[in-house]
Amino acid sequence: MKTRTVKVDYLARVEGEGGLYVKIRDGSVTDVKLKIFEPPRFFEAFLRGRDYRETPDITARICGICPVAYQMSAVHAMEYALGVKVEGQLRALRRLLYCGEWIESHTLHIYMLHAPDFLGYPDAIQMAKDHSAAVQRGLQLKKAGNEIVSLLGGREIHPINVRVGGFYKTPSKRELMALAERLKWARDAALETVRWVAGFSFPDFRVDYLLVALRHPSEYPFNEGHIVSNRGLDISVKSYEDYFVEEHVEYSSALHSFLKGQEAYLAGPLARFNLNFDRLPAPVQQAAREAGLNETCRNPFQSIIVRSVEVLYACEEALRIISEYEEPESAAVEAPVRAGTGFGCTEAPRGLLYHRYRIDEDGTILDAKIVPPTSQNQKSIEADLRRFVSQHIDLPDDAMQWQCEQAVRNYDPCISCSTHFLKLTADRV
């Protein structure tokens, strides 16, 4: 009997601490584990007993990479509980803020974390020696996203300007117009990015995923929509927990999510793109087609192209919102407190981010549940590794390890976030 293992104790170029383990016996994969060994963080418990108005600020601290996503899911859930709806320019500003985060987060992953895999470098530092113009473009493109988040969020790190009902302060038309100039440059840079990554070589690998993303009647999804799949699921955000469940596995400090009665599902850029291609504006669709994507993409290694298409979309959408912006009369909709339960689901850069809160008549949080995208994708990551190794069983050890790591990085996993919500259960003696 011949046994072979692919083992990475510490995955590089992913957010947080995790490893991977693949065991091959007599030419077949017998075990695959994405190991997440960061200690769990108990944000859900921390939220209990706090005032409902604190949720955007508290949850923004969960992730240094996507604080806006946490804020957005939190305020939408609270507004649901309070029975208010934020519309018009305030809603548009929320989309604009989300554009900023997608640009920042995706660009960081494309250029600094993922591109080195395709160009054969151990990291962006080595890559920059031969591709300095591309790396500089990545840094500047990311900066355009930072500027949106700084202006609307009130500051770059842990934005503080978002509140239940809207914002504390809204920008002037002039402030937004100043952003537009850089965003026009960013749109061109994003298009160059799409073309750049489209030229990479991709392993021949296709997966018939169960894809899950938000879908809105007219928009590419950020903040609003039904939760849909490519196999007929179409539910309101409120029903999320009727369909999706989480389970504990011993080798991961993050809960694994799955759709009841079915196996792994995929959330994130690939799922959004496949389920919402028709919601992209024509120039973005054209860029995707020119990059060889057509209307569907089932190769997870090509997620780098999909991310770059989404950055292009975020630049286009930001420019549209800015050109149509009129300063609102009020920075927020008043939302009188009442007891209730609220549900919010938005599209974080890495996929669906679900929040649910129960508050009492004073607005004190009684109960909170948060499901981040990386914990939802853990099963899919493992399934990809199993398939990939099975199909490429003859690769030499070093190439196999490299491509397994790359297969994990296809997901841009945020391991730190994935562990934040593990509940302390009674299986410890």
Partner: protein, 169 residues
């Protein structure tokens, strides 16, 4: 474009996440230094995300960075690292929540030829990096002495500049 004033000033960057216990050390030192109210150096707070760091120090020639480290030393212990000529020890900076953090920012800037001429990193040994706002007593206790060490460094860097100016005349 950066002005010449920016180019000659010393920039102090405190890095951290104040909701990750001892990871806040760099921010606490930066705030302590702000209290000194000195005009001969600028102070910034950063989360430690690498691309933002490169942007922050882009127009500065002399930079001092303070960040929490995890290298197995005594909590509150201070490391002084000169990154101007040699790479930082990557392992020590894994306490950061960023895949692309301070170490990567310094080395990427070096690859691009954009590293400030002087780059001194003060690492404050942390003990607890869990979510929360409580800083370990040993780290809390070290903040004042780290701030003093940074002020000493500023003095040294200031003298270097003077020496350079004099030698060029």
């Amino acid at each position: 474009m950066p002005s010449s004033a920016e180019n000659t000033a010393i920039l102090v960057i405190g890095i951290g996440n104040e909701y990750a216990s001892d990871d806040a050390a760099g921010l606490l030192v930066a705030r302590r230094l702000k209290q000194a109210g000195r005009a001969d150096f600028a102070i910034r707070e950063e989360s430690g995300e690498g691309a933002a760091l490169i942007e922050a120090w882009k127009s500065a020639a002399r930079v001092i960075v303070i960040d929490a480290v995890r290298s197995g030393g005594d909590p509150g212990g201070l490391h002084r690292l000169d990154a101007s000529g040699a790479p930082l020890p990557a392992e020590s900076f894994r306490g950061s929540t960023h895949a692309f953090g301070l170490y990567e920012a310094v080395e990427l800037a070096r690859s691009l030829g954009d590293l400030p001429q002087r780059m001194i990193v003060f690492g404050v040994e942390g003990q607890n990096f869990a979510a929360g706002r409580s800083v370990s007593p040993a780290v809390e206790h070290a903040i004042d002495s780290v701030a003093r060490a940074v002020l000493e460094e500023i003095k040294k860097l200031g003298n270097e500049q003077v020496e350079k100016c004099m030698s060029s005349h």
